[in-house]
């Protein structure tokens, strides 16, 4: 079993489960869910995360604000971040990359697309 630990951040429980199920199928069993940026920052404190997958539009704290906090943290700034969002406009993608997102997946996505992006940063 892989020791890789992944944080999945999305306000939609459906999307969190789809992402978790896909991760499991490709060998990443250890993923932790968070409902928004605030919840994600709290979950990160447990430590040991190798990758963050985050939505953009969420209540409480959105994905972009969350990524800024991660990149501003000495403890978490080196963790790769993939944004998974419905924000398909190029201007939004550029903005996300500027804020420190390492890669970007537009919803809707196939399991194959998620696998290809995730395995760029980690292996099972």
């Amino acid at each position: 079993m892989s020791n890789v630990k992944i944080l999945v951040v999305d306000d939609s429980s459906t999307m969190r489960r789809i992402i978790k199920n896909t991760l499991q199928k490709i060998g990443f069993e250890n993923s932790v869910e968070a409902e928004n940026g605030i919840d994600a920052l709290s979950k990160l404190k447990a430590g040991g995360f190798n990758l963050i997958l985050t939505d953009w539009n969420m209540p409480e704290m959105d994905g972009l604000t969350f990524v800024k906090s991660v990149r501003g943290s000495d403890t978490f700034k080196m963790i790769p971040v993939i944004m998974i969002t419905t924000e398909a406009a190029k201007t939004e993608v550029v903005e996300a990359l500027k804020q420190g997102v390492n890669d970007y997946i537009v919803k809707p996505f196939t399991p194959e697309a998620l696998k290809a992006k995730v395995t760029r940063f980690i292996s099972a």
Partner: protein, 158 residues
């Protein structure tokens, strides 16, 4: 609102439902809604607001059976009735419809923000139009039932 705009919503709808819910989607002919009466009897609607060069909302309206099937297909689980998962799933689909349309429309020079989705449940509920805004209904068919995507949107660009 012009044909290009409507096509952006059609493309995004087909993409969302074929990719995430594994459904075959066939589009009918869009029409302008002029009365408060529904031609399509709906049980559940997911609505999302837009603000900027395009103002208003887009809604994904469907019947119970199709909503349950969409959630079941998305999650890979058996589902029998509308529950929190079904509400969340249809909300996520309208999110993808709005986001996908925004992606296409941004390339045509539109700039706008999309809000978080709201889900409404009720036998043949009505959606309130924004006064004087064009209201277009796009009917679709799937092997699991019919649905509409309804767009009530005013733009400050041609």
């Amino acid at each position: 609102m012009n044909v290009d705009m409507i096509n952006s919503f059609i493309n995004a709808t087909v993409n969302a439902l074929t990719t995430m819910a594994m459904l075959t989607v066939t589009r009918g002919s869009p029409y302008i809604k002029t009365t408060d009466e529904n031609e399509f009897n709906r049980d559940i609607s997911a609505i999302i607001g837009m603000a900027g060069d395009a103002n208003g909302w887009v809604a994904f309206c469907l019947q119970r059976q199709l909503a349950v099937k969409i959630a079941a297909n998305m999650l890979g689980e058996e589902k029998q009735e509308i529950d929190a998962d079904v509400r969340d799933a249809v909300g996520e689909i309208v999110n993808m419809i709005a986001g996908g349309a925004k992606g296409e429309l941004t390339q045509r020079g539109f700039s706008f923000k999309i809000a978080l989705p709201t889900v409404v449940i009720g036998d043949n509920h009505e959606l309130s139009r924004v006064k004087d805004f064009p209201y277009i209904v796009i009917p679709f068919a799937t092997e699991e039932g019919n649905f509409t995507v309804e767009v009530c949107l005013k733009t400050n660009k041609i």
